[in-house]
Symmetry: C2
Subunit: 160 residues, 2 copies
C-alpha cells in the first residue's frame, strides 16, 4: 500500500485497524494488564494464545508497545509507548459509538457526543504516561481519569 | 462473545474493528463513493472485489449502510445510516493518530490534539445527514466541513 496515497486515515487503519490489536490495547490501557498471561486469561473476548502472541509482536514492531527485557525465568512486561498512549482517543471513539449503538452497553440515545470528553481523555493520557513511561506528572486532582472513562465504557445498560 | 461482558469498546470493535470496513466507510464519507464500482476502482488500498462485496453486506447487516433498491439493470446505491454517520469520530481519531505517528502523512508533532476538532466533526456529520439521510439542515456557513477534514487527513507531508 502507498501510505502517502492512502493518507493519514489509511495509514493508521493499516497498523491499528484490527480487532485483536485494538482489544489488546484496551486491556493494557484500562485493565493495566502488562504480562502475556494476564492479557490471555483476563480477555473478555477469549483471545487465543497464538493470536495474542502475534498481536503483541506486531504492536511492538509498530512502536505502540515496548517489551521489557526479562531476566532468565522471568516474564516480560509490556509498556505503552507515547504512540500507544495516543491510541486512547481511538479506543474512546469506539466506546462512544458502542455506548450509543450497541444494545446492552448503554441506554440508547443517552450517550453524550464525542467532543465532550477531550479533557478527560487528555488527563487519562497523562495518567498513562506516569504509569508506562515513568513521567513525573503529579496524579490529577479529582479522581482517576482512567477509572472515570472505564466506568463510562464498561458499565452495562442496567447500571448507573 | 458476551457483549455485556466486553463493554462498549469491545462491542464497537466487534463490528467496526476491521481494516476494510473502516476504509470503505472512509471512502463513502470523504469521497462520496456510493456505488460498488466506484468503491472498487477508487480504492487507494486496492480492495479486492470479493472483500468489498463481503464488507458491504456486513456493513448493511450491522446497520451502518443502507442499500438502495435498484431497478432491473441499475446499480444499487449505498447510503450511510445515522449509525454509519456516527462512525465519523472514529475515522477522524484514526486520522489524528496517523497524522501524528505515520511518516509521510503529516509533519510529526504538528498535529493538534484530538479534542480540537469536535465542532468541525459535528458539522461534518450534519453535512452527511443532508447528503445521505435527506435531512433538511441548511448547508453550513464558512465552507464545507467534510472538505476541511479531508484536507487535514489526506494531505501529505509536503503540503500546506
Amino acid at each position: 500500500m502507498d501510505e502517502r496515497a492512502a493518507g493519514a486515515i489509511g495509514a493508521a487503519v493499516q497498523v491499528l485497524g484490527d480487532r485483536w490489536s485494538l482489544l489488546v490495547l484496551r486491556d493494557v490501557i484500562f485493565e493495566d494488564r502488562r504480562y502475556f498471561r494476564a492479557l490471555l486469561t483476563g480477555s473478555a473476548e477469549g483471545i487465543a494464545s497464538n493470536i495474542l502472541a502475534d498481536r503483541l509482536v506486531k504492536l511492538v514492531e509498530a512502536g505502540m508497545l515496548a517489551r521489557g527485557t526479562a531476566a532468565r525465568g522471568q516474564r516480560a512486561r509490556y509498556s505503552l509507548t507515547e504512540a500507544g498512549i495516543q491510541t486512547l482517543p481511538i479506543i474512546c471513539a469506539f466506546g462512544d459509538w458502542g455506548r450509543r449503538w450497541r444494545p446492552g452497553t448503554a441506554r440508547h440515545g443517552a450517550a453524550p457526543g464525542p467532543g465532550d470528553r477531550s479533557d478527560l481523555i487528555a488527563a487519562a493520557m497523562d495518567q498513562l504516561r506516569v504509569r508506562h513511561l515513568g513521567a513525573e506528572t503529579p496524579p490529577p486532582a479529582g479522581g482517576e481519569p482512567l477509572d472515570q472513562l472505564k466506568q463510562l465504557y464498561y458499565r452495562t445498560a442496567g447500571d448507573g
